[in-house]
Amino acid sequence: MKTFDAIKGRRSVRSYKDEKIPIEKLEKIMEAAIWSPSASNAQAWEFIVVENDADIKKIKTFSPGIFGNPAAIIIVCRDLKRAYKLCGELGRDTLSLMDISMASQNIMLAGHDLGIGSCAVRSFGISAVKRLFDLPEHINPELLITLGYPEKTPKPPRRRGISEVVHWHNR
């Protein structure tokens, strides 16, 4: 799939087939994640890949933003200690958030390229997930990405037009 087709074709999928994702595909998706850019190459991220149905159910219990039954969930975390050590306060408070956002987009585009739907979810209990997975204090779960083979793919939502949001300077 061409990059631009992946970018335009990806949708937020909230209805999944009852079908597991082969491990090779998950590994490929995670490889895409770690190749995303990061400020000062800090890579202050950690990813927890959850495939087990019982654990997925536990996450769902505390995640009002998850719909359908995903085959896997990636818990995208920031490593605040590493971010601070390598990039100071700016890294800890701002840049690391940008970095995991770019990694998350890589995850979703790579998934789409492999025929796997995804949805980024922030509506979850951060403290709940932290305790469920016994995460250390400095590891902050920031985003859940649900993955699975789409049962239904939503129509593209309306985009704000290029002329509305892009401003060519001195053109």
Binding site: T61, F62, P64, S123, F124, A128, P157, R158
Partner: protein, 105 residues
């Protein structure tokens, strides 16, 4: 959720309500910071989840099943079309009013 003898499986019911309550509690916390429209969205999604539990327990009537289907078909309009979402909620209220009038309640 009913056993072979027709009685309600209390263990399953307890588990379903636990999940619903965890959903409500987590939603309450997250609504502090989330967009304003997520509040009504969580409430209506909670209504759908509650009807789902009633369905499993064989308590929901046809009206409630229909309401749950309407909610599930329309709730995502909150993501893209606020006016459509509000209209859907208004119509849902009227469904309850009509039901109340038809039963003489």
């Amino acid at each position: 959720m009913k056993s072979s003898t027709g009685t309600i499986d209390k263990g399953q019911l307890r588990s379903d309500f636990f999940n619903l309550l965890a959903f409500l509690v987590t939603s309450a916390r997250n609504c502090v910071e989330e967009p304003k429209l997520y509040g009504p969205f969580r409430l209506i999604d909670g209504a759908s989840r509650l009807i789902g539990i009633l369905e499993q327990a064989d308590i929901a009537d046809e009206f409630l099943v229909e309401i749950r289907k309407k909610i599930d078909d329309n709730k995502y309009s909150v993501m893209g079309d606020k006016d459509e979402f509000i209209k859907f909620l208004d119509n849902l209220i009227l469904d309850f009013v009509d039901k109340l009038k038809s039963t003489g309640g």
